[in-house]
Amino acid sequence: MTSADDAGREYDDSARVICLRVNGRDYRVLARPGWTLSFVIRDKLGLTGTKLACDQGACGACTVIMDGRPILSCMTLAVECEGRDIETIEALAAENHPLLDAWVQTESIQCGYCTPGVVMTAKALLDRVPNPSDGEIREALAGNVCRCGTYPRWTKAVKAAVKGTKA
């Protein structure tokens, strides 16, 4: 659907209600076609645990899990996510997932802005590979940027979470 401005230039003015399933809850949101999933999650649903850092799919800060796979919510249009099952850091916080405690105990956190995205990527890894090797951890988390450089702690943190899960 388009409208025209005073100069007769057309612009996309279509917006529609979409249904999103986020952290087990169904939301109905009025969304424009150009809105990204990260914008809808943060600005419309108020779930600000998901961060936006590069907005170009290069840093992993906006990672959420969709249908079991880690995806970059800044590179995903919200309208594409109808009927999908989306999990954000708030779901992990609600269940007190062992990864959170592991991240705290190993001090894999400095400024903390990248942390939710890294933890979500690690969660997707553990869902797929319950007891990953160092190499699998490095490969899975190699797309997440941490400018403070907490990388050396991440492998330890994921392994600590594995132990936490078993306990």
Partner: protein
């Protein structure tokens, strides 16, 4: 420690005596206050602020590196549905802003005469732009970022393009392109001793040229401002490192009382110098958000995109050096002729001034020195410190030592020890530890001599310099509030850029005061409503100055507390008869006669009284960098760091892989070791980027910086860092900070790239004189060395 420093230090210790033993918490890594909230995604950053009715702002950016707006038409943008406001440079709100203070210079005392002329005040929406992507012309507020962006595209501008200069060498010889009288800003010549005599005394002369690449700024959370007005009171949710100074700048700029400007500082997604609120682009953004909010009477948020966020880069530096050295490694004279890039960024350009030779001048015994510095204006991104302004001095000192060591076939660590003014105790201890932990003596080999089984060349390098931190700078203050249940809250405005400084300060207060650490809290996100302020992050100086205030507060609060409760221990008991540890108050003469603080206070409170707390504050006077011009004597060279890097160089592709990093850092005293280690490995990882990939790339035809994002600036990830990254904190030297502590985060990032460079040299046998050491440069060097042999 010089006599002058010793005198000031002794005076400070008299005023603020600190513990020297029996630590309960200092030296242990107490749990950081922010960790759980950050892990859970509940910590609120500036970018997370969402207010009812909030609009999204965007600012027009210049497509040219040097141009003037001749005419602007915003009518189409205004008419776009969803656009609330379009503000232009001609609007009175904009023209009435007093921008003079936004670029107020910081005179650190080392700047040569004439620097005032180089400070240029720019309007917040520029008419004449000095660099591509500069905020200019107009700003928009709309009900989504997407519409705001759309509206910007509808703004019609008639531009007059002006000549631009991107390269320093061109700026030196060309017509004026900057706002100054010529492109050359404030040359400075600094000569000490007799350089020519020093060169004559030398057995060997080492000469060369080198280049330091300007680093792009890359903190992970981009610049964000959220502004809201309630009548004539302004609140700004702030993304920055220095909160309190913003009040002064913004109230003056908007010509309103400082008492009606309130700045809230949520958690900060890193900074690394970028968000220091002295650069022109970030202060502009805050003010543009404030003006849009005042015009629309709605809260307005402006968040920069990743590309917009590269509003600052480090200074590019090219330099010619000449070093005279005796055959035993004693340096007799050195000379540096350097040229640094500048840009209209207010004070930022001046920070470079006179600096590149500073470390060599301050650390080395050699007294015959000459530094000839030029800062030239180019139409590039604003220049500003990038963890930190000490990169250039580190590059020069390292170049001198490494090239001398190489020429004389000496171990670089021996050249350091031979030439340092103060090799003992710290530098010597650090080098010993470095050799032990790295196996240096067994691993170092003659350049180009070791080929690994995988066909790659092995190299190892070391770099050494001081841990950088300033003694104490500004006036700082902190308060403490004790509740009726005995729990305490520390009150002071201090940004949190990731080092959990708040936990460190609480550690000091709990230890000095005798409180149970679990009963102390220091909330990170406070606002200017709080009257107390600590030095913000930056300059590796926060702890150095702020710790004095924490100790002073603890002493004062403990005294007042014990005076308050003395009566509970029987008539005639005085505060002096009591002590407290682990939040239990006891009689010194009879430690078994004790009462928990919570119990004592609880029984004293009047439940109907509105004020049921004990509040105490303490302030420490800064010793002043600028006014006393004593910077140099305050920079302590008492604590050293050594970094060892091993690399594997693929001589077919030019790729360099850093396979191990060892970081040995004497930090005087570790208050919270985990924070120290975090700074060490974090700085090392940045150092790898600086050594191997970081540079800025400009389109020569448009002047637009092409790699201001995370795709074309290849930031290090888990895939690039070595599995073997070891950090060792040591407590050998003593600086003039309380407990002998020194800042640690800056030097690490300033130093490590030098070790990468010398490791690559050790691998291939040819120096690469230009950072970063990208594969093309490595391949060219390999060809030069004739080391293309196959295994």
């Amino acid at each position: 420690m010089s006599d002058e420093v010793r005198g000031l230090y002794d005076r400070m210790v008299d005023e603020v005596p600190f513990k020297t033993q029996d630590f309960d918490y200092i030296g242990k890594s107490m749990p950081r206050f922010d960790a759980k909230a950050k892990a859970r995604g509940e910590a609120e950053f500036t970018s997370d602020i969402m207010l009812p009715g909030m609009l999204y702002g965007k600012v027009l950016r210049s497509p040219y590196a040097h141009a003037r707006i001749k005419a602007i038409d915003v009518s189409k943008a205004r008419a776009l549905p969803g656009v609330y406001d379009v503000m232009t440079l001609d609007d009175e709100d904009v023209t009435s802003v007093d921008a003079t203070e936004l670029t107020a210079p910081w005179d650190f005392g080392w700047i040569g005469p004439g620097w005032e002329e180089a400070v240029v005040s720019e309007p917040i929406l520029a008419r004449e732009v000095w660099r591509a992507w500069e905020q200019c012309g107009a700003a928009v507020a709309a009900d989504s970022p997407e519409i705001a962006k759309e509206a910007l595209k509808l703004i019609e501008i008639e531009w007059e393009q002006l000549p631009m200069i991107l390269e320093m060498k061109d700026a030196l010889v060309s017509e004026k392109t900057g706002p100054f009288d010529g492109n050359l800003m404030v040359p400075c010549l600094r000569e000490e001793g007799d350089v020519e005599a020093g060169f004559k005394e030398a057995d060997v002369i080492v000469e060369g040229k080198a280049r330091w690449a300007p680093l792009p700024m890359t903190s992970i959370e981009t610049k964000c401002s959220v502004a809201r007005w309630e009548d004539d009171e302004l609140t700004i949710w702030f993304r920055g490192q220095q909160v309190r100074p913003a009040i002064k700048k913004y109230s003056r700029a908007l010509k309103m009382p400082a008492s009606k400007v309130r700045i809230v500082c949520p958690y900060q997604g890193g900074s690394f110098g970028q968000m220091f609120t002295a650069g022109v682009e970030d202060t502009r953004t805050d003010l543009i958000a404030a003006l849009l909010a005042r015009r629309t009477r709605r809260p307005v948020k402006i968040q920069m995109t990743r590309q917009e966020n590269v509003f600052g880069t480090d200074w590019e530096m090219t330099f010619d050096y000449k070093v005279g050295v005796k055959s035993d490694g004693t340096i007799t004279a050195w000379k540096i002729v350097d040229c640094c890039s500048g840009c209209v960024g207010g004070s930022s350009t001046l920070q470079a001034f006179g600096l590149p030779g500073n470390w060599a001048r301050d650390e080395l015994k050699c007294e015959n020195t000459l530094e000839d510095t030029k800062v030239v204006f180019v139409n590039r991104q604003p220049t500003w410190w990038c963890r930190s302004e000490q990169n250039q001095p580190a590059v020069f000192l390292d170049t001198v030592i490494q090239r001398v060591a190489d020429r004389l076939q000496m171990d670089p660590s021996e050249v350091y020890l031979k030439n340092l003014k103060q090799p003992e105790p710290s530098a010597k201890a650090v080098i010993e530890k470095m050799k032990l932990e790295s196996g240096w003596d067994g691993k170092w080999h003659r350049p180009g001599e070791r080929t690994l089984a995988n066909g790659k060349k092995h190299g190892i390098g070391v770099v050494l310099a001081h841990s950088w931190g300033n003694y104490t700078d500004f006036n700082v203050s902190i308060g403490l509030k004790i509740e009726g249940d005995g729990t305490c809250t520390l009150i002071s405005l201090k940004d949190d850029i990731g080092t959990t400084a708040h936990t460190t300060y609480a550690t000091i207060v709990a230890d000095e005061m005798g409180l149970n650490f679990d009963h102390v809290h220091f909330p990170a996100c406070q606002s200017t409503d709080v009257g107390y302020t600590l030095q913000g992050g930056g300059g590796a100086a926060g702890l150095h100055g702020n710790a004095w205030a924490c100790v002073k507060l603890a002493r004062k609060a403990k005294q007042e507390l014990l005076e308050l409760v003395a009566g509970k221990f029987g008539e005639g008991t005085a505060a002096e008869d009591l002590d407290m540890r682990n939040s239990v108050i006891f009689l010194k003469a009879d430690p078994e006669n004790k009462k928990p603080l919570s119990e004592v206070l609880y029984s004293m409170l009047d439940a109907n009284s509105p004020d049921q707390t004990l509040t105490v504050g303490a302030r420490v006077e800064g010793r002043g960098w600028a006014e006393e011009n004593v910077m140099e004597i305050f920079v302590p060279y008492q604590c050293y760091q050594a970094h060892v890097v091993e690399v594997e160089v693929d001589t077919e592709t030019g790729a360099v892989e850093v396979t191990s990093i060892l970081n040995v850092a004497d930090v005087g005293k570790m208050i919270r070791p985990e924070t120290v280690y975090g700074q060490l490995y974090g700085g090392d990882i940045m150092g790898v980027e600086r050594g191997l990939f970081f540079d800025t790339i400009y389109d020569p035809s448009t002047g637009v910086m092409l790699n201001g994002d995370f795709i074309y600036t290849p930031v290090a990830t888990l895939g690039e860092i070595p599995k073997d990254l070891e950090t060792h904190g040591m407590e050998v030297g003593k600086t003039p900070g309380p407990y002998g502590l020194v800042g640690v985060g800056e030097s690490t990032a300033n130093l490590l790239f030098g070790a990468v460079n010398s490791a690559v040299y050790n691998a291939i046998g040819v120096w690469i004189d230009e950072y970063p050491l990208t594969p093309d440069k490595v391949l060219a060097a390999v060809q030069k060395a004739g080391t293309e042999e196959r295994p």
